[in-house]
C-alpha cells in the first residue's frame, strides 16, 4: 500500500462516524471596517504604511518622474532595476544606471544594484499593505527582494482597497503573489519589532493621483 493510500485510509477511518457537515460557513464578518470615502481610504493607507515604517510620498502623475529622480538621488543610488514594462516616462528624469532584469541575471548581480522601482497590483488600506503579482510593471519576485531599496508606485484611488477580503477578490491565485507591509522586520529579539533584516531595508511608497 502506498503512503498516499495509507494516509487517506486513516483519514477516512477517523471520520467514519462523524456526521456530515452540510451547513455553509457563516460569513457574517465585515467586508471592511468602518465607512470611508475614496480619499479617506487613501489617507488610511498612507497612515498605516507609515506606521510600519514605510516612507510615504504623494504626487500627481505629472510630478512622478521628478519625485522618483529625487528619491533615488537622495538614497545615493547609482543603479536601479527596471521591471520589463515599467511605464517609460516614470524614470525619464532618473540619472542612475538602469539595469534590466534578464533571465540569466544571478542573485549576485541583483545584489550589486542599489534600488528597484515597481508598480503594484493592489494596496490594502486597513493593513498598510502593497501586493505585487509579478505583472510586467513589477517584474519577477527576486528583483524586489535582493536590492536594499524598493520604491513602489501605487495609483490612487483605483489600486487601493479597504480590506483584506477586498484585496483577495482582486488577485489571481495563479500568479506568484507577495504581500508587503513595511520594510522587512523581526520580532525575534525579546518580541520587540526591529526593522531591516533580509528584505529591502528601505521601502518607499509613492501614491500617485491622476
Amino acid at each position: 500500500m502506498s503512503s498516499r493510500e495509507r494516509v487517506l485510509g486513516r483519514v477516512r477511518r477517523a471520520l467514519a462516524d462523524v456526521p456530515a457537515d452540510g451547513a455553509p460557513v457563516l460569513r457574517d464578518y465585515l467586508r471592511e471596517h468602518g465607512r470611508r470615502g475614496a480619499d479617506e481610504t487613501v489617507e488610511l493607507l498612507a497612515g498605516n504604511l507609515a506606521d510600519y515604517r514605510a516612507i510615504v510620498h504623494r504626487c500627481t502623475d505629472a510630478q512622478l518622474p521628478e519625485v522618483l529622480m529625487r528619491l533615488l538621488a537622495a538614497h545615493g543610488s547609482q543603479s536601479v532595476v527596471v521591471p520589463p514594462e515599467l511605464p517609460p516616462h516614470w524614470l525619464k528624469a532618473v540619472d542612475a544606471t538602469r539595469v534590466h532584469d534578464r533571465a540569466a541575471s544571478t542573485p549576485q548581480d541583483l545584489d550589486r544594484v542599489d534600488s528597484v522601482v515597481t508598480g503594484c497590483a493592489v494596496a490594502v488600506a486597513e493593513t498598510g499593505t502593497i501586493v505585487l503579482d509579478g505583472s510586467p510593471d513589477q517584474g519577477r519576485r527576486r528583483i524586489t527582494l535582493v536590492p536594499d531599496h524598493h520604491v513602489c508606485v501605487v495609483r490612487v484611488p483605483d489600486q487601493v482597497v479597504s480590506s483584506v477580503p477586498q484585496a483577495l477578490e482582486r488577485l489571481d491565485p495563479v500568479r506568484p503573489l507577495t504581500w508587503i507591509s513595511g520594510p522587512s522586520a523581526t520580532s525575534d529579539i525579546e518580541l520587540d519589532r526591529v526593522e531591516g533584516v533580509h528584505g529591502p531595508r528601505t521601502l518607499e511608497v509613492v501614491l500617485v493621483e491622476g
Partner: protein
C-alpha cells in the same frame, strides 16, 4: 513524532530548573507581557473579531470533516500547476523523501525557512546524517542553531534568550558556520539583526535548494502561503532552483476566499501586527519566476490519529499563532523546553500527547501542565477549547481506553503513577452512591477534625506538598441544613 525529545523527564521535573532560573524567568516575563498587551490592542481594532474567530473555527472544522476530499483536491491542483506531491505517513518517511530529493539535485546544503513541521520530524538531523547541511535562516532559528539549543516558542524559538546572550552566541559561533559576527557587535537588536543579515546573505545568494513549511494550502487552487517578517522566507522561496515544502495535512483551507479570515486573524494573534511584513503565495511553478522545481510533502505523523479523537481533533484547527503561549501563566514560568516538544505551551500540551501518544513520561504529564485557567481558549483565533481537551487527555492518561495509534485502533492501559487517584475516585463514586455511608463518613470526619494531619500520608504526600488541605467544618453541610431548615424546603 521524531525521537528528538524522547527520554525527556516529566513536565514537573523538566520545569523545576526553569522555575528557579531568574534570567530565564525575566526573559520570558518581559517578552510574553510585551506581546500580550500589543495583541490585545491589535485585536481590539477589529470590531468583528468574534465573528472572524467563529468563521475560522467553522472553516477548519469543515475542512477536517472532509479532509480526504480536500487532500486529493490539493494534490490535483498542485500537480496541475507543475508541482510534485509526495505523501509521508510519519516523520521518518518525510525525512527520507526530502533527503532523497536534495541528493537528486547533487547539492549538499539547503536553506530553510522556519517550519514547525520539519522541526517536528527532526529533518535537520536526518539531513545531517546524509551529509547535507541545513541552514536555518529565521533569526530566532539561527540563534537556536548557532547556540546548539532547542526552540522554546512556536513563533520566537529563541524567546528564552535575551539580547546579551544572543550577542555572545553570535560572537562565538557565527565564524564556525560562515561569515563571522562584525567586530565590536553590541547587544542592540538593530545591530544583531544586521549581523544576521550579513551572515546569511551569502547563503541565500548561492542557495540551490530551499526547504519550507506552509501556513496554508488552498485546496481549490493549489496555492501555498507562507507568512513571515524578515524576508528570509522570500529568499528561500524564490531564489533557489528547487523548493521542497513539508506541510501537515491539516493546513488545508478549501477555498481562496477562506484566506480572508486567516490573513486577518493570524498576524494579529501572533506578532500583534495588522499584517506581517511579508506574505508569499505561490501555485506550483511559474515560468521565469522562482524555483523551476517544486515538491510538496504532505505529512501525517500522528495527525490522523488526532483526527480520530472526537474531543481532541479540534487541536488540528491550530494555525500556530502562539497567542496561547503568550498568555499562559504556566508557560511564562516554566518556559518552552519543559514541554519536551517543538510545540510548547497550552497547544503543545494537547498536541504532543495526541501526535505522539501518551506512552512516554513527558507525554503522559503534559495534560497536567496547566492550571485550566482558560486564558488560552479566550485568545485562540480558531476557538480551540484547550482546557476541554486537557481534561479529556487527563482522563485518557488515568483511565486508559480506546484510541488510535498509527492508524490502528488500540486500547490504552491506564498510566502508572495514578493508582492513588483512581482509588480515590472509585471510593468517591461508592460514597456518593451510598448516602448513608457518606453521611456517617462526613460526621466522623467532622468530629475527628482536630486530629487530622496537616499533610497527607503515603502516596498523598506529593499532592499536599504544594497544597493546603481543605479545612473540615465542625458540622457537615447536610446536618446544618437539617438543623436550620428543619428538613423543609426540599431537603429530602
Amino acid at each position: 513524532m521524531s525521537g528528538t525529545h524522547l527520554g525527556m523527564p516529566s513536565f514537573p521535573e523538566a520545569a523545576r530548573d526553569a522555575v528557579h532560573d531568574p534570567t530565564l524567568r525575566g526573559n520570558l516575563r518581559h517578552a510574553t507581557h510585551t506581546i500580550r498587551d500589543k495583541r490585545a490592542r491589535a485585536v481590539a481594532e477589529l470590531d468583528d473579531w468574534a465573528r472572524l474567530r467563529e468563521a475560522g473555527k467553522r472553516i477548519k472544522d469543515h475542512t477536517l470533516r472532509y479532509l480526504d476530499r480536500y487532500l486529493v483536491r490539493v494534490e490535483e491542483a498542485v500537480t496541475a500547476a507543475g508541482g510534485t506531491v509526495h505523501w509521508a505517513a510519519d516523520a521518518e518517511e518525510a525525512n527520507r523523501i526530502v533527503a532523497d530529493l536534495v541528493k537528486a539535485t547533487g547539492e549538499s546544503e539547503v536553506v530553510k525557512v522556519k517550519s514547525m513541521a520539519t522541526q517536528e520530524t527532526g529533518l535537520n538531523e536526518a539531513l545531517e546524517a546524509e551529509g547535507i547541511r541545513a541552514y536555518e535562516t529565521d533569526l530566532a532559528e539561527l540563534i537556536v542553531q548557532l547556540g546548539g539549543d532547542r526552540p522554546s516558542h512556536i513563533l520566537v524559538p529563541a524567546i528564552h534568550r535575551n539580547r546579551g546572550e544572543i550577542r555572545d552566541i553570535f560572537r562565538s559561533e557565527m565564524g564556525e558556520w560562515g561569515r563571522p559576527a562584525p567586530e565590536g557587535l553590541t547587544d542592540t537588536p538593530a545591530e544583531l539583526a544586521e549581523a544576521a543579515r550579513l551572515h546569511l546573505r551569502e547563503k541565500f545568494l548561492r542557495a540551490r535548494v530551499g526547504i519550507s513549511g506552509a501556513n496554508f494550502m488552498v485546496a481549490e487552487t493549489g496555492t501555498l502561503v507562507v507568512v513571515e517578517s524578515e524576508g528570509n522566507g522570500r529568499m528561500c522561496l524564490t531564489l533557489p532552483e528547487t523548493l521542497i515544502s513539508v506541510v501537515g495535512i491539516e493546513k488545508i483551507v478549501p477555498t481562496w476566499r477562506d484566506l480572508e479570515v486567516f490573513l486577518q486573524t493570524l498576524p494579529r494573534s501572533s506578532t500583534a501586527e495588522r499584517m506581517n511584513p511579508y506574505t508569499s503565495m505561490w501555485t506550483g511553478t511559474t515560468d521565469g519566476d522562482g524555483p523551476r522545481t517544486f515538491h510538496l510533502v504532505l505529512l501525517d505523523n500522528g495527525r490522523t490519529d488526532t483526527l480520530a479523537d472526537e474531543v481532541g481533533r479540534q487541536a488540528l484547527r491550530c494555525i500556530r499563532c502562539s497567542a496561547c503561549l503568550n498568555v499562559c501563566p504556566v508557560y511564562e514560568r516554566a518556559g518552552g523546553h519543559a514541554y519536551g516538544s517543538v510545540y510548547p505551551g497550552p497547544i503543545g500540551a494537547i498536541l504532543s500527547p495526541q501526535l505522539r501518544g501518551t506512552g512516554s513520561e513527558i507525554d503522559a504529564s503534559l495534560p497536567y501542565a496547566s492550571s485550566l485557567c482558560g486564558a488560552c481558549y479566550e485568545v485562540c483565533p480558531v476557538a480551540i477549547d484547550i482546557p476541554e481537551v486537557l481534561v479529556h487527555l487527563r482522563e485518557r492518561v488515568v483511565q486508559g481506553g480506546p484510541a488510535v495509534r498509527q492508524g490502528n485502533r488500540v486500547v490504552l492501559k491506564p498510566a502508572r503513577g495514578h493508582a492513588a487517584e483512581r482509588a480515590a475516585m472509585r471510593a468517591a463514586r461508592w460514597a456518593f452512591t451510598h448516602p448513608g455511608a457518606l453521611r456517617a463518613g462526613q460526621r466522623l470526619t467532622s468530629r475527628t477534625r482536630r486530629l487530622h494531619p496537616r499533610t497527607l500520608p503515603g502516596p498523598g504526600r506529593a499532592w499536599s506538598g504544594s497544597r493546603d488541605l481543605p479545612e473540615v467544618p465542625a458540622e457537615p453541610f447536610r446536618d446544618w441544613w437539617q438543623r436550620t431548615r428543619d428538613g423543609k424546603d426540599g431537603a429530602k
